[in-house]
């Protein structure tokens, strides 16, 4: 139906074809417009969340960088940026190391209780965030980890590991372990064989898993709402109170910056996915 209409198509089929295309266009618009609409609004010169007359007539006076200035000079916003990066990077490192090592074991079909282990290790991704957050809040406060960086980092690392496990296991599917044996029979130590044979192959998976773990932590707000004190507030946490308490277009400037970051991450992951498929000999 998507190929150009055949010349013998009837009237009804033609009408349906254009209706279908129009419907899809509307859905794509629905998907993307809400994200794009905040970008021009973040340059609003007035403290409004909607387009002013000046903006619509492209009057330069209608636009300004004041909300970006607000963001870059605000102590609490800058602290939240620092916190977000500290927490996300630490959580990503923990999740990536543990997740990659575990994936090497999980990718072996002869691992005992493989399905059960996989289910358990993936569970942080399946359990609704509000429940994970509630459980962690109860437990972490009873052992004194609530309102500490360590607590938030551990929680975020736990939430991020399933993504690393899944992406790295996926790159190992179809891996021929006789390659490792070949390397060892040629004199390579197991460590050397790992870094020379397995590592290059799983690197794209490791990096995209790490990026997933990073974005999970970077975007996460429910656990932060429960576990973080004032000192640990992250960007999403600051946006949350921005929306609930003192709504100001600074949020739109922050949102625009975050959209730019997600575009960068999306492009990276997409490139890695293609590279991984090429390395494994699958057509991209």
């Amino acid at each position: 139906m998507m190929t150009p209409l055949p010349p013998y198509a009837g009237k009804l089929e033609r009408a349906w074809h254009w209706f279908y295309r129009g419907f899809c266009a509307l859905v794509f618009f629905f998907l993307i417009a809400p994200i794009l609409v905040i970008i021009p609004l973040s340059f609003n010169a007035e403290p409004y969340f909607t387009f002013t007359r000046e903006m619509l007539t492209f009057d330069p006076d209608g636009y300004s960088l004041r909300w970006y200035q607000d963001f870059f000079t605000s102590e609490s916003w800058l602290r939240s940026v620092r916190n977000s990066f500290v927490i996300a990077i630490s959580a990503t490192m923990v999740a990536t190391v543990l997740g990659t090592v575990a994936a090497l074991g999980l990718a072996r079909s002869y691992l005992p209780f493989r399905a059960a282990l996989m289910g358990l290790l993936i569970s942080p991704m399946i359990v609704p965030l509000i429940i994970s957050a509630a459980g962690m809040y109860f437990f972490y406060s009873s052992i004194g980890l609530a309102q500490t960086f360590v607590g938030v980092i551990l929680a975020h690392a736990a939430l991020g590991t399933p993504f690393v496990v899944i992406t790295v296991t996926a790159t190992l599917i179809g891996f021929d372990y006789s390659l490792v044996r070949a390397a060892q029979s040629l004199g390579a130590t197991p460590t050397y064989a790992f870094f020379k044979v397995i590592m290059p192959l799983i690197t794209p998976g490791v990096i995209s898993g790490a990026l997933f773990a990073f974005i999970t932590s970077f975007d996460e707000v429910v656990v932060v709402l429960f576990l973080a004190g004032v000192e640990q507030r992250t960007i999403p946490r600051e946006m949350w109170s921005g929306i609930r308490e003192h709504i100001s277009p600074t949020i739109l400037a922050v949102a625009t910056i975050l959209v730019a970051i997600s575009i960068a991450l999306l492009v990276t992951v997409e490139l890695l996915r293609r590279r991984s498929a090429r390395l494994r000999g699958l057509s991209s």
Binding site: M1, M2, W16, Y20, V27, F30, L31, I32, P34, I35, V37, I38, F49, T50, F51, L98, A102, L104, G105, L106, R108, Y110, P112, L117, L120, L121, I122, S123, V127, P128, I130, I131, A134, G135, M136, F138, F139, A157, A158, T161, T167, S208, F212, I215, V221, F226, P236, M239, W240, I243, R244, A255, L258, V259, S262, I263, L266, V269, E270, R273
Partner: protein, 415 residues
């Protein structure tokens, strides 16, 4: 020179090959398991234990047994009819005196208040005067607060003095004990959680249906277009997927609020009177959640549709089927696994949603997750929060097993 039947093949160090092989197999298994161990321990400590701790809290009931030990013991002999004997009142007075000294009566006050409203003040005012109470304690306690003259109060204390309780689950399911101790439904106007659960399932179902209606044609288009175009259009699906949840929710607030972009357009065409209330209600929750979860519908649908050979449709057409019949009879049945995967995924994600309903849902757009948060942060009724959370978790786990049966966790794809 034929080898004797009992001499098996041996390796260089003289061990039978079979044994050696088994050792090697076992070592391989052990190595694989050791690789998984660090993460396993990490997840157990940081994630699994907290979840079980929450489940424990939903039945944990230490307050009355710990703070009122004498009363608990004295009540064991009571048959539950009329008022308890003087010995129970005396024990209660002694417990109150001690509880007042240790500042623990507040816990009992809060705990009993969950069962009978108004008990907080009854216990607190009694605790304040506990030291001045004199025998006969029955009369002086009833004089201090009329509640102590009601057999129901004592029935509740007797029932809730155990180490564990079902009462948080009963509350979470809008059930209660009636005067004779049987479990019954709350009167209709006092039900909170059953309507909330119904609303959560209804709104999640609605979001699932909306995302399916919007996502199916798009997935089909992505799967059938030449790769050049579909890769470009795929970005439009993946960008929202990668964009922060808070950013997307903020966008919807910007668009939907009464002075927002959408209403400004409506007002421009139809006048100021045409502005609609789209936020702080269920409409806002459904629109924003449908947008946020749409990629989770499109991606599984797309990966299933990608595997359906386009030739099938052409074959059906060439055999005389009109386009709609060919689609309905040949294409659609093959997409069922994708529909199942996408729908279950969206439904599972929706019933646990918290952030978006909290920000755009107002009072009528709240889901179960919001009440869990409310009881943790505002009402401080952690037992009830834990019971609600456990019930929510139970529903997700059941759905997840269905998902695993139908699709398999290994087939979960990302990005």
């Amino acid at each position: 020179m034929t080898p004797a039947p009992d001499t098996a093949m041996v390796t260089a160090d003289g061990l039978p090959l079979k044994l050696k092989l088994r050792q090697a197999e076992r070592r391989k298994k052990l190595t694989a398991f050791l690789l998984v161990t660090p993460l396993l321990l990490f997840i157990i400590v940081t994630f699994v234990v907290p979840i079980f701790d929450m489940m424990r809290r939903s039945i944990d009931n230490p307050e009355i047994g710990e703070v009122l030990p004498r009363t608990t013991e004295a009540l064991q002999a009571w048959d539950g009819r009329d008022l308890p004997p003087e010995s129970v009142y005396a024990a209660f007075a002694a417990d109150m005196v001690e509880g007042r000294e240790n500042r623990t009566t507040g816990r009992v006050a809060t705990r009993l208040n969950y069962e009978i409203s108004g008990m907080r003040s009854a216990v607190n005012s009694t605790a304040r005067r506990a030291a001045r109470l004199e025998a006969p304690f029955k009369e002086s306690l009833i004089e201090t607060h009329a509640r102590w003259g009601d057999p129901y109060t004592w029935q509740v204390i007797q029932r809730e003095s155990g180490r564990f309780t079902a009462s948080y689950y009963l509350s979470a399911l809008d059930l209660r004990y009636d005067e004779s101790g049987r479990i019954t439904l709350q009167p209709e106007e006092q039900r909170i959680y059953l309507p909330l659960a119904l609303r959560t399932f209804w709104l999640s179902g609605l979001v699932t249906v909306i995302t399916l209606i919007l996502g199916f044609p798009v997935a089909y288009m992505l799967a059938t277009l030449p790769l050049r175009y579909s890769n470009l259009l795929m970005i439009l699906v993946l960008l929202p997927f990668w964009t922060s949840l808070l950013v997307r929710t903020t966008s919807w607030i910007v668009i939907l609020q009464s002075q927002g972009v959408f209403n400004d357009i409506v007002a421009f065409f139809f006048g100021e009177g045409a502005r609609m209330q789209l936020m702080h209600n269920q409409i806002g929750t459904v629109i924003a959640m449908s947008h946020i979860l749409l990629p989770f519908m499109i991606l599984p649908l797309y990966s299933v549709m990608k595997t359906i050979p386009p030739g099938y449709m052409r074959a059906a057409r060439s055999l005389g089927a009109n386009p709609f019949t060919a689609f309905r009879r040949v294409y659609l049945p093959q997409t069922i696994p994708g529909i199942g995967a996408g729908a279950l995924l969206v439904f599972i994600l929706s019933i646990g949603y918290y952030i978006t309903p909290a920000l755009v849902g107002g009072r009528t757009g709240q889901l179960v997750g919001n009440l869990v948060a409310f009881h943790i942060q505002n009402s401080l009724n952690w037992g009830l929060a834990a019971a609600l959370g456990t019930l929510l978790l139970g529903s997700v786990v059941i759905l997840y097993f269905v998902y695993n049966r139908l699709i398999g966790i290994d087939n979960m794809k990302l990005g």
